[in-house]
């Protein structure tokens, strides 16, 4: 998208030359502001990122561009971001948990740590649920564990390392056996459940249409607190498995960026997440309201999250 951004930059600067200097007193990016999404096109991070970019563009008049940089749950994108000069025109958008797990598992191989970034804010929290087909012969985690013990083993679909670790904790805590099938994202997990190849699997939003249609039911919540869309369902922790994940969609820039820039971009993000069209897309994607922890709060969330991940996911 380099060429396009250059052309757009050219167009934008031509336009700016004629525009009234309404933003003259504020910081503005030198050229286009790129939001790099750490996931592929079409997923929930991508969808939210694209709407966020559009609202930011409408609000500020900056030329905000979205690029997808998938790989390793955002690690490829954050690696790239950490190697860039801090020019103040590239923002990374990713999800906390996959990054934290990679930092715990192979932090020595990664060219970045939490200090490599200036944090701008968060946009939403994801709720991770273990779901099963409506016909499954169990309704909660205890029931599932009992059924797995009866059957000898039980197939469960996961889509990211933290979910594998939660299921391994469940194995350790209960003694039940699970066949863990790794899928390419939540949509494939749903396909495996609907096709009957697995009996349960994790969803971070992909399950909503099936919950609504009554084809699936929620077995357990994988966050620290109960799921907002299924408040009667117990979490893994409440069911005696001491593990949880709280994935948060956050934005960051290369550390050492001009504080003026981070401040201006962080406030542009903060203003954008209250826009009705952004609220709607967050509602569609994670069935919740936008959440911004702010720059400081985001950093604290990441630092605390890393400490927590070390405890929970220690090998």
């Amino acid at each position: 998208m380099k060429l396009k951004s250059k052309l757009l930059a050219l167009g934008a600067s031509a336009l700016l030359a004629f525009a009234t200097p309404a933003f003259a007193e504020d910081w503005a990016p030198d050229g286009p502001l790129t939001i790099q999404i750490g996931f592929g096109a079409g997923g929930s991070t991508d969808t939210m990122g694209r709407v966020l970019a559009k609202v930011m563009k409408d609000n500020t008049g900056w030329n905000v561009i979205v690029e997808n940089k998938p790989g390793g749950g955002g690690v490829a994108m954050f690696t790239g971001l950490s190697q860039r000069p801090a020019t103040g025109n590239v923002v990374g958008m990713g999800v906390s948990i996959p990054v934290l797990v990679q930092l715990v598992n192979r932090g020595d191989q990664l060219p970045f740590d939490l200090e490599s970034f200036d944090y701008l804010g968060t946009v939403a929290k994801a709720e991770l649920a273990l779901v099963a087909s409506k016909d499954a012969p169990f309704d909660d985690l205890e029931g599932m564990v009992t059924y797995a013990k009866e059957q000898g083993t039980l197939p469960v679909a996961t889509m990211a390392p933290p979910q594998v670790l939660i299921m391994n904790q469940t194995k350790a805590a209960t003694g039940a056996e699970f066949n863990l099938v790794t899928a390419d994202g939540g949509a494939e997990v749903m396909k495996l459940i609907l096709g009957g190849q697995v009996l349960a699997g994790f969803g971070s939003g992909e399950q909503f249409p099936y919950l609504e249609s009554g084809d699936m039911k929620v077995i357990a919540g994988a966050n620290q607190t109960r799921l907002s869309f299924a408040p009667d369902v117990k979490t893994f922790i409440e069911s005696g498995v001491n593990a949880y994940v709280d994935p948060v969609f956050f934005l960051a820039m290369k550390a050492g960026t001009d504080p003026e820039a981070t401040k201006a971009i962080a406030s542009a993000i903060d203003a954008a997440i209250t826009a009705p069209e952004f609220v709607e897309i967050v509602q569609n994607a994670v069935k919740g309201a936008p959440v911004n922890m702010g720059a400081e709060g985001t950093k604290k969330m990441m630092v605390d999250g890393l400490a927590n991940a070390k405890v929970l996911f220690a090998k």
Binding site: K2, L3, R50, A76, D184, E188, Q197, F208, P209, S213
Partner: protein, 500 residues
């Protein structure tokens, strides 16, 4: 079942001049970016999505559908005219399309591609509109074990493309699988063969490998043949025979079974997420060649070869929407982009889509049918233009194509890293082609590799490593038997054609 009045209302929403204008704009844009080597419809859609925010859902989606469908037709143009497929699914079209173009019949070749592409596309759209729900249920029953068997079957059919040397064919396939294994492994997320380059964490970028191998290596080849004299990139010498510029009804009709088979293969593979149009095009091509009375004429400009691959790769696109609309599962990158456009415009694909938003869905179907007709019409005009363009001197055409490949790959992979990878694969492709190794086999193995590996890993996890459980799945057993049969058939017919 959706109320008939909703279906009618949906179609009448679609058939407005306003929507037609957006479909037309989308198709023109799609055909153009499809025909320019290196950019392609996926790029164009990713760029176009933000521009549809301001539109109502129906024109927005109609526009994106237009881009996607136009891109399919456009993609065949560089493959046929210059033997430089911009997308790997058009590589099968080049096998017979380019020889025909070189015989002074570029318009005939591109028109056959256009007609069979629109035919295959329309076929799969009709399947989508009429029987998507039962087909989606069948697709769900194809679990990891069945998918592994299907992939083995796909590989076995490719044996028909191996050509003279079995050893070289196997080496090319293994090399493709090796290259496909770069990046994190699907089971434990451990990085493999990345040599410290985190950009490779998600594997080698597909556009770099495909364009480097298929397009740039061909350009290198053509440049190395240049001898200083000015030649047209494609000879459009008038043969004096008006039949060489058109496709007669008799010719089209003679390919009806070929296109039906291609469209059926494309529709089946399209309904199964993640296998893709490249495999469909090559499977259809290989099957058509095997079924032909005159297999020796393939690769030398047989219009049936063009019809086979174009009808199959275009049918995939409509069929990709089957799992998307009914289950919310995207079957390809293009479908994933359409899903995000749906979500942005307030549509939630999944089991309730037809109930909640039936009118919009039938509006989408109306737009798809409209796009097929527009594609045919714009294609008729556009092809003449492209044929004129490539009659310019080859020094101009190939150097511009080279530039566009660089730009396209840099855009698609967001940076110069992808361009470097492209150049490495261009050299590899040039060497492989020079020493008689099949690039086509390599590319298919590379494209199918990750899905193949993932399905094997899933199957092993499901069965606790006990492969005998495959015999519990009748579908898998049937596909495996067919694979054995097709390998035997193809190897025997290869041996026979060599003996002759």
């Amino acid at each position: 079942m959706v109320d008939f009045s909703i279906i009618l209302a949906g179609f009448s929403d679609a058939f407005t001049l306003f929507n037609l204008a957006f479909v037309l704009f989308g198709v023109v844009l799609g055909q153009f970016v499809g025909a320019v080597p290196g950019i392609g419809p996926i790029m164009a859609m990713a760029i176009a999505i933000p521009f549809t925010f301001g539109l109502d859902p129906l024109p927005a989606i109609a526009f994106l559908v237009g881009v996607n469908k136009g891109g399919l037709v456009g993609g065949a143009v560089p493959a046929v005219l210059m033997n430089t497929p911009g997308t790997p699914d058009a590589a099968a079209t080049a096998l017979d399309g380019n020889p025909l173009a070189r015989q002074g019949k570029p318009l005939k070749a591109t028109k056959m591609a256009l007609f069979s592409s629109v035919t295959g596309d329309t076929f799969s759209d009709i399947v989508l509109i009429t029987v998507s729900a039962p087909l989606a249920v069948l697709a769900l029953k194809m679990g990891p074990i069945e998918v592994v068997a299907l992939m083995i079957f796909a590989f076995s059919i490719l044996a028909g493309l191996i050509g003279n040397s079995l050893t070289k064919g196997i080496i090319a396939a293994m090399l493709g699988l090796l290259v496909a294994s770069v990046g994190q492994d699907p089971e434990n997320y451990t990085p493999r063969l990345i040599f410290g380059y985190w950009d490779l964490f998600d594997g080698l970028p597909l556009p770099s490998v495909a364009i480097g191998m298929l397009a740039i290596s061909e350009i290198l080849h053509r440049l190395s043949e240049a001898h200083g004299n000015v030649r047209a990139a494609v000879s459009t010498e008038d043969t004096g025979n008006p039949d060489d510029k058109r496709v007669s009804w008799a010719e089209y009709w003679s390919c009806r079974y070929v296109m039906l088979r291609g469209a059926t293969i494309g529709t089946i593979l399209g309904a199964l997420p993640g296998i893709g149009s490249t495999a469909a095009a090559f499977m259809s091509y290989a099957m058509t060649k095997a079924a032909s009375k005159d297999p020796a004429s393939f690769g030398k400009g047989n219009i049936q070869g063009i019809a086979a691959s174009e009808s199959a790769n275009s049918a995939v696109v409509g069929a990709n929407l089957i799992p998307l609309l009914t289950l919310g599962i995207p079957g390809s990158v293009g479908a994933a982009l359409i899903i995000s456009a749906f979500m942005i415009h307030g549509m939630q694909p999944g089991p309730l889509l037809f109930e909640n938003q039936g009118r919009l869905v039938y509006g989408l179907f109306g737009a798809m049918l409209m796009a097929n007709f527009v594609n045919l019409w714009v294609g008729q005009l556009g092809l003449r233009l492209w044929v004129k363009v490539v009659s310019a001197p080859e020094s101009i055409i190939f150097s511009s194509a080279l530039l566009l490949c660089f730009v396209g790959v840099a855009m698609a992979t967001s940076g110069l890293f992808g361009v470097a990878i492209m150049l490495i694969f261009a050299v590899l492709g040039y060497l492989m082609a020079s020493f008689g190794y099949s690039l086509v086999i390599f590319i298919i193995a590379f494209f199918l590799g990750p899905r193949f590996e993932k399905s094997i890993a899933q199957s092993l996890a499901l069965t606790n490593g006990d492969l005998t459980q495959i015999f519990r799945s009748p579908v898998a057993v049937m596909l495996l038997l067919l694979s054995v049969a097709s390998v035997v058939f193809f190897l025997r017919s290869n041996a026979q054609s060599e003996a002759r």
